[in-house]
Symmetry: C2
Subunit: 198 residues, 2 copies
DNA sequence: GTCTATATTGGGATAGAC
DNA sequence: GTCTATCCCAATATAGAC
């Protein structure tokens, strides 16, 4: 049944997944609709049955990727808020996310959105607020950190991952992930070992 | 003397300044060589007398902007290391840098460089290392912060500024700059007021 | 809903005059 | 060193068949 609604929905998902993967790793302008549709195993003509144009696809792809990220999912029952957020930060600042095909859009597109149409920027802002809001929610059950501290921590882990992806020195990337993990856990009162000069 | 070396050097500077301004505010692909040369008050044909191609221009523009940034300049005699770095962080995380035509390339191009030719990425990496190295140098004269802490702080101020530029909510931008300033100064042992829940 | 074929344009790069 | 004129390709979007 190639004309069923399920089939169309399925095609749409495949397009969105391919779009985010290719945009985030190659940049919006370096990827053509052709390439996206080929990756999703369709031809270009089919594209316009799903999306109005390339810019709309970009916005939808950000929402799609944001909705798939682990942080918006519900916490596993057996973990405490503290254990859960510790795990999230460690997974976020993992080297897999540096080379990943499907990284956090907040890190992968941080600069890019400023030069796109307003709707893209709006999508980014909403996604950022949601992430910060989640961290605030978990942290306040056990931590003394102020909202300033949480916001700065959110900026730090996104920035750290983004820079780790940007630089061409694997050693520096690794160091960045490690340093940001340590500091983020400390800022949120999760791990409090005393720091010392190296 | 339109053919003097000084004249050529002058033209080159104008091209670089226009290029960085336009690239960082509009994105590499949304700006044509035509627009850059028009901004620099020349025509497109003149471009190739200065740069091999658009990609080389981009790399050179990053170096140009990085070389102009305040942090690589020498500290004014009358200020201590501590006073100077406090001033630098406050100026870095100022709302002028959010709307600025000529912001820090590390924040303005953070995502963009990952999808460009290797030489661009290399330019970014060198610039980041230099900035971090400067902060380490100033901080170690008065602070107990480990190199992990300084690296994470560098990521935080760059990330904070980049996100403040990305989001379309001025209130959130302002909050981000403020929060990152407070935390950065605290992480580097510059201001140590006790934090409290809001 | 998906395909092929085609119209159209924007912009990078080169050639050659001044 | 800077200009104008030109070549050329890549990619968006549309039209129309199946």
């Amino acid at each position: 049944m190639p004309n069923s609604p399920e089939h169309k929905e399925n095609s749409r998902h495949r397009i969105l997944a391919s779009a985010f993967k290719l945009f985030s790793t190659n940049g919006y302008d370096n990827i053509s609709i052709n390439q996206i549709m080929a990756d999703a195993e369709m031809t270009r003509g089919a594209f316009y049955g799903h999306f109005e144009n390339k810019s709309v696809l970009y916005r939808e792809a950000i929402f799609y990727a944001a909705g798939n990220s682990e942080i918006v999912r519900n916490k596993p029952e057996k973990l405490s808020d503290k254990e859960w957020i510790k795990k999230l930060i460690q997974k976020y600042l993992d080297k897999n996310n540096v080379t990943n095909d499907c990284p956090c859009p907040l890190a992968a597109l941080i600069t890019d959105v400023t030069v796109r149409e307003p709707n893209v920027r709006k999508a980014y802002t909403r996604t950022f607020k949601r992430m910060n809001h989640r961290i605030v929610g978990y942290a306040q059950t056990f931590s003394n950190s102020s909202s300033d501290t949480v916001l700065a921590t959110t900026a730090m882990i996104i920035g750290g991952l983004a820079i780790a992806r940007a630089v061409d020195d694997p050693q520096l990337s690794k160091q960045l992930l490690k340093s940001c993990t340590i500091e983020a856990l400390r800022l949120l009162d999760i791990d409090n070992e005393k720091q010392s000069k190296p």
